[in-house]
């Protein structure tokens, strides 16, 4: 029986964000924006969605009067990502 793919992760931008964050310890919003090529507004909405389900931690601070947003994947996020990849492997019989 195939596992259902996590609807939170099964979206292009959210999956791209999670794939980036699983590879690093933490990354700034600007880094994610540059790598995904998404608009700031769209990225902001998707980051918020991932934060709401506790897949990522978001820390906002001011550095030299400029806002700086740092994102970091959580334990829950890692587990969800691993489960998603396993489910994908089942579908693709990898």
């Amino acid at each position: 029986m195939f596992k259902e793919l996590d609807p939170i992760l099964h979206s292009q931008l959210r999956l791209a964000i999670m794939s980036l964050l699983i590879s690093v310890k933490e990354a700034e919003f600007t880094f994610i924006k540059e790598k995904t090529g998404a608009t700031a507004g769209n990225l902001s909405v998707q980051v918020q969605k991932l934060k709401e389900v506790n897949y990522i931690d978001v820390e906002k601070k001011f550095v030299d009067n400029y806002p700086q947003t740092t994102c970091k994947i959580t334990e829950i996020g890692i587990a969800a990502f691993e489960a998603y990849v396993k489910a994908l492997q089942q579908y693709l019989k990898v």
Binding site: A16, A27, T36, Q46, L88
Partner: protein, 229 residues
Amino acid sequence: MNNEKQLSQQESLRLITEMIQKAKGSHFHENGTSAILWGAVVGFCGIMSFAQYTWKFSIGFDVWILTFLALIPQIFIAIKEKKNKIVKTHEQAVLDAVWVVYGISIFAVIIYMNTVPNASVELLAKDHIQLLKKDTLTGEVKPWKPFVLSATSILMIIYAFPTLVTGLARKFKPMIIGGIFCYGFFMASLFTSSVYDALLSGFAGICNWFIPGIILRNRYNKAKKALHV
């Protein structure tokens, strides 16, 4: 990137691979400023010390003081580099921990080098011993401060190094605390005789490895039980 696009399973897998590759290829590159700074300062101090010993002259102050002055630009460099970093990898987190603990250890060795001679004189005085040195040419006798190697103290710095690095890199508090305690025992060992150094070494082993090990074992057993429930 369009968020609403429906992904096929193949597209999902491709996207994951692509993003992981992008993250891998974009690590922050050190510009080498710190390495140049410390290489130049330590290189200069070493060569200048050699020159003073060899050609018998003095510049009027201990040249190694420059290494303390180099800490000032280092602080500014570190702050600037931290500001410019937009991503931190797991590897960088471990390397940061290695350099922080290296800094602490160097500081500990400097304290060791400056404390041991005076502490040795005091410990010997308690046993009613004073070491003297005699100039065989003039016959002049002067008190002598021996540099007695305290191998146990040095070992405690080496004990603490990997524990503190692991604790900082993994954010595992028992190892951070164990490592800090180990440096504390090292400090105490500078003022104690070798008998008490051995005791402190035992305490270091308990704080550094035994207690964190017990905590790790409990966590492991809990995780194992949870898997089998």
